[in-house]
């Protein structure tokens, strides 16, 4: 490696240099210290890592060179193919320049890192040229010519490198290239100067930031706030006029709701029925009042008799009359009242005769008939003298008791009728409430045409037909949520489909003589109780950067984002969004002494523990972490109900999951409300209040299982129970195979356990499964870029434990700040010296331990 032409950084006036110049110079200076290429005796005995790295064999270097050559060849071929397409077919298709820019950037970073400056500089020029074409500074035609010349230079470099083992002479080739650029009116130096002015690095600020960052990283909260601000900017930049003119306008203007006419008419019919029912309710209420009045009178009579009995017991004369204040509704009361003026010397005979003549069974109902029979049976005219006031009082008492029994029965009957009518009325109110909520909902399909347009208008969509499928489009969604979802969904599709080269990658992955499969994008919506699940799946690789644009709007909806590789090898994004104030059919169960609700949408069937087999078996009470108090499950363990879970996303399940509960109490339809933020807990989807004024928690079983770490721990099989000495594990995430290989070798020689990931999705998979101590993360990657990975790591406490060191060719302060704000622990620019790399890793490891 010939580095004599390059002087130390100290001899330059830094302010006169562009950021790219500085990056290159840093790279060369770093390469001087790179032991594998320029071995030198280490004086620092303590730097064991560096010493170990010197042990890399010539065989390793050759292998790395082979990998780099293959990768560079692939990159240059890709650039050449795009140039050919642009020259012959679609010169106006600017989206191709994005691919050129990306290819230039990748080659620039990789070549710089492995120590080929000429390839790195030339590739960097391709990146600049492509970017300027996209900005409109250079015409596409001139841009193509300039990039074509640069590509020829790259091809020449690669050829020389493979045949002679080194790059050609630097100065003359670069001078020739500059002359070619000038022939098509491109002044590269001027362009670089402009770029420097536009995105000028304040070196002092950078140094301060670097120092501050290395010594004391900013608090997490501060990072978050900066992240939010930055994200707002990003979102603002991506808002297109189409967005402004379409769905979002309804959010910004006066709150309004689009109403389905049929639903509105249905609601009117319901309310009319309610109005009709009002009269029936009022009538039933009047009947209760009437019956109650009778009851009060009967009670008053009983009360009046009490002092009379007391007087009689004392031998005093009793006047068998009722107070005038009592109403004449009681038959016996009326009789007594009318008979009051009768001569008191023969009172009983006259009274009884009068009573008998008045009571005409069975015309006067049960009470009168009973009284008649009693009087008739007891009455013997020959024994009339034996009857006295006491006997009469006894009869009156019997009469009063009978009267009370009848009126009580009347009240009960009226109340039962009222209860039935009231239940109907309340059911009607519930229906009206549900219908009113439905008015505010709209099927998801109202959004589908807009999304279809985005797919069709995208660069890959124009280049080749993409199949766009929507499943569950009839799912009813609150219009506010639908409006708020429109923008992130559009942003997601736009970002993922920015690069037309993704289709090239599909073709290249397809075996020869086989037609590449038609690219597919699918959107699947499922309603899980009061939670909506959206899957946005891609069958092909996608452009990274989507998470950044959608995180904030999804968080505003209190939703979560996750992603995974789908069954056909592509990427699927999952949004889980709560759907509050929705009516949910639930199973009411008991766990311990708690009554809980489980949405039927999460249940496949209910069995019992004896007959059902579940691959994974949980106890609801233990999942919730409730104290083991009153439970009957241990008494009838074989009969304990087992709630078998349905698949979360509607697909075939790999494992069956059973949740044991103490008792199934029934089913219930309820309106679920969310808990206040400070009471929200994972696995608790919302609450409802039952008829007894008690709060019932609605459980989201999937979320509850996910949030129960003690279970996942207990299920892990312990294949290696012997304690092993801990070697720090490092995940190297870079889409460049050469760079990955180089890093893996270096780190393995330094006794680290090394894992590799080719892109952001693979990195996330490894982070979840292997939980490395450190992650070396590139920014520019397909599927998920480095920022996306950082964003998703921050949402998962387990992944967040891994310290992230950014290792990227993006050298500006802007990128560094952004990465730090998203939670990165350190930021290194490619190429970096081994010493810097190891020192940063050790610092991050110490931080991780403390």
């Amino acid at each position: 490696m010939n580095n004599e032409n390059f002087t130390s950084l100290d001899e330059f006036d830094m302010n006169e240099l562009s950021d790219e110049d500085l990056a290159v110079l840093h790279a060369f200076e770093a390469m001087n210290q790179w032991p594998t290429r320029q071995p030198q005796a280490k004086t620092d005995d303590q730097n064991q890592l560096s010493r170990k790295s010197q042990t890399s064999s010539p065989h390793d270097d050759e292998e790395m060179l082979l990998i780099f050559t293959a990768e560079a060849e692939e990159g240059i071929t890709s650039i050449r193919q795009i140039l050919n397409q642009l020259e012959h077919y679609k010169v106006e298709d600017l989206s191709r320049f994005i691919t050129l820019k990306r290819a230039g950037h990748k080659l620039h970073g990789t070549a710089g890192a492995v120590g080929f400056p000429l390839i790195s500089i030339t590739a960097s020029q391709i990146e600049i040229l492509a970017e300027e074409v996209l900005h409109g500074t250079i015409s596409p035609l001139n841009g193509i010519q300039a990039i074509s010349a640069a590509t020829t230079a790259l091809e020449y470099c690669l050829h020389t490198m493979t045949s002679e083992g080194k790059e050609p002479e630097t100065t003359s080739l670069l001078a020739e290239l500059e002359a070619t650029y000038r022939s098509v009116d491109i002044d590269l130096q001027q362009l670089e100067q402009k770029r420097t002015e536009a995105d000028k690095i304040d070196l002092k600020t950078e140094e301060i930031l670097q120092k501050k960052f290395k010594r004391e990283p900013a608090p997490k909260n501060q990072h978050r706030q900066e992240s939010v601000t930055r994200e707002e900017e990003t979102v603002a930049i991506h808002i297109s006029p189409e967005d402004l003119s379409q769905g979002t306008s309804s959010i910004r203007s006066m709150p309004s709701t689009r109403v389905d006419t049929r639903r509105f008419e249905h609601l009117i019919v319901r309310t009319e029925k309610l109005v009709e029912q009002r009269a029936i309710v009022e009538e039933a209420q009047a009947q209760i009042e009437c019956a109650l009045q009778e009851l009060y009178i009967a009670q008053a009579r009983m009360k009046h008799l009490e002092p009379l009995i007391a007087k009689l017991q004392k031998g005093e004369n009793v006047a068998l009359s009722l107070p005038e204040s009592l109403p004449a509704s009681s038959l016996v009361a009326r009789i007594l009242h009318e008979s009051a003026p009768i001569d008191r010397q023969r009172p009983l005979q006259k009274k009884v005769n009068h009573v008998l003549s008045t009571l005409q069974p069975p015309s006067s109902g049960y009470a009168n008939a009973k009284l008649y029979d009693t009087l008739k049976a007891d009455w013997d005219e020959l024994e009339i003298d034996r009857y006295n006031e006491q006997d009469m009082l006894q009869h009156i008492l019997k009469d009063a008791i009978a009267d009370l029994a009848i009126t009580t029965a009347n009240v009960q009957s009226a109340f039962t009728r009222f209860s039935i009518i009231q239940q109907d009325y309340l059911a009607g109110i519930t229906h009206v409430h549900r219908d009113t909520l439905l008015l505010h909902q709209a099927p998801f399909k109202s959004l589908v045409p807009r999304l279809e347009r985005v797919v069709m208008m995208s660069a890959p969509g124009q280049a080749r037909q993409i199949r766009f499928e929507v499943m569950g489009e009839d799912t009813e969604i609150d219009q506010d949520i639908l409006d708020a979802l429109a923008k992130p969904l559009v942003q997601l599709l736009r970002t993922c489909l920015t690069d037309p080269a993704i289709l090239e990658e599909v073709r290249s992955d397809t075996p020869l003589k086989q037609e590449s499969p038609q690219p597919r994008i699918w959107l699947k919506i499922t309603n899980h109780g009061n939670r909506l699940l959206f899957e946005i799946g891609f069958s092909m690789p996608i452009q990274g950067g989507a998470i950044e644009t959608i995180r904030q709007p999804i968080q505003q909806l209190h939703g979560t984002i996750s992603l995974q590789r789908n069954s056909i090898g592509g990427i699927s994004f999952f949004f889980r969004i709560p759907h509050p104030h929705s009516s949910v059919f639930c199973l009411l169960v008991r766990a311990g002494d708690q009554h809980l609700l489980i949405p039927f949408s999460q249940i496949e069937h209910i069995g019992d523990e004896q007959r059902e087999h579940a691959d994974l078996h949980y106890s609801l009470q233990e999942l919730l972490g409730f104290p083991k108090g009153i439970t009957t499950s241990h008494i009838f363990s074989s009969m304990a109900p087992l709630v078998m879970l349905a698949s979360e996303d509607g697909t075939m399940k790999e494992e069956t999951i059973g949740i044991s509960v103490d008792e199934v109490l029934g089913e219930q339809e309820c309106i679920v409300k969310p808990l206040p933020p400070y009471l929200q807990r994972p696995g608790i989807a919302g609450t409802t209040i039952d008829g007894k004024g008690r709060i019932l928690l609605m459980i989201d079983l999937f979320a509850l299982i996910r949030s129960a770490p003690q279970y996942t721990l207990s299920q892990q099989t312990n294949d290696n129970p012997l304690p092993q000495p801990h070697r720090a594990s490092i995940l190297v995430t870079d889409d460049s195979a050469a760079l990955r290989h180089s890093l893996v070798q270096t780190l393995q020689h330094a006794s680290y356990t090394v894992l590799e990931a080719r892109d952001g999705v693979e990195a996330l998979e490894k982070l979840q499964q292997q939980k490395p101590d450190i992650c070396l993360l590139d920014v520019e990657m397909p599927n998920l870029n480095g920022y996306d990975v950082l964003e998703l790591m921050a949402t998962d406490p387990e992944m967040a434990k891994t310290k992230v060191i950014m290792l990227t060719s993006r050298s500006t302060v802007k990128h560094m700040q952004h990465a730090l704000s998203l939670g990165a622990s350190a930021y290194l620019t490619k190429p970096c010296s081994q010493d810097d790399l190891f020192q940063t890793i050790e610092r991050a490891l110490k931080k991780s331990i403390t």
Binding site: N221, Q594, L624, G625, F626, P627, K673, L675, P676, Y678, L679, Q680, R681, P682, G683, I684, T687, I689, K692, G693, R694, I695, L696, L697, S707, P709
Partner: protein, 206 residues
């Protein structure tokens, strides 16, 4: 003199500890409430409700009491909550947490406020009373064994919080306004904030 400065330092330290635990929003709410407190002409006397727990007597400022709810209480357990939180209940359309005052102070004594899955759970008592507290921003239910009489107290009648009984956790002196006749006069603003903070972050410890 040395003792006084030691006590002052200790108080400052607990105050700082308390402030550090607050979120930004809670910090500013607290600051506003303190500012309002200072701006308001200092009342010379205030009415307090005497409440009884197993540990001793407490005095609650009547102006912050919304209701004294007699038993029975309909409480629902919530996962990942501090051991001294009895559950949640519905009160006038609001869902509010209910805590056991005695357990709260006991857990502090045992230094286990942050351990949410210890065995010593507080249980609702069938004969207990729940006080609904409202600090203007938050509603909180507090379970006490019984309530006593209403006492009208002059500010001057209170003695310094440092005179609190020995069982009272020293770290919680900020939750006291003072002591009157061995009854602890609680600073409800601070107490509510402290409790809510614990309830909020308890899920995050998992």
């Amino acid at each position: 003199m040395n003792d006084d400065s030691h006590i002052e330092n200790k108080q400052d330290f607990t105050q700082i500890q308390f402030l550090e635990q607050l979120s930004e929003q809670e910090f500013w709410d607290y600051a506003r409430s303190q500012a309002a407190e200072e701006a308001r002409p200092q009342a010379t006397h205030e009415e307090y409700l005497e409440c009884i727990t197993d540990q001793g007597h407490y005095l609650f400022a009547l102006r912050m009491l919304s209701e004294v709810v007699p038993p029975p209480h309909k409480l629902t357990l919530l996962p990942l909550c501090p051991t001294w939180m009895l559950g949640i209940t519905a009160w006038r359309g609001h869902i509010i947490p209910v805590v056991d005052l005695a357990s709260y102070f006991t857990s502090y004594e045992k230094n286990e406020t942050d351990t949410m899955h210890t065995q010593s759970y507080a249980y609702p008592r069938s004969s207990s009373t729940v006080l609904i507290l409202d600090d203007g921003n938050t509603l909180l239910g507090i379970q006490v064994a019984a309530v006593g009489s209403i006492i009208d107290l002059e500010q001057a009648q209170l003695v310094s919080p440092e005179q609190a009984p020995s069982w009272y956790p020293q770290r919680l002196l900020t939750t006291l306004l003072g002591v009157y006749n061995e009854a602890l006069v609680l600073n409800l603003q601070v107490l509510i904030l402290e409790m809510m903070q614990h309830i909020k972050v308890s899920a995050a410890y998992e």
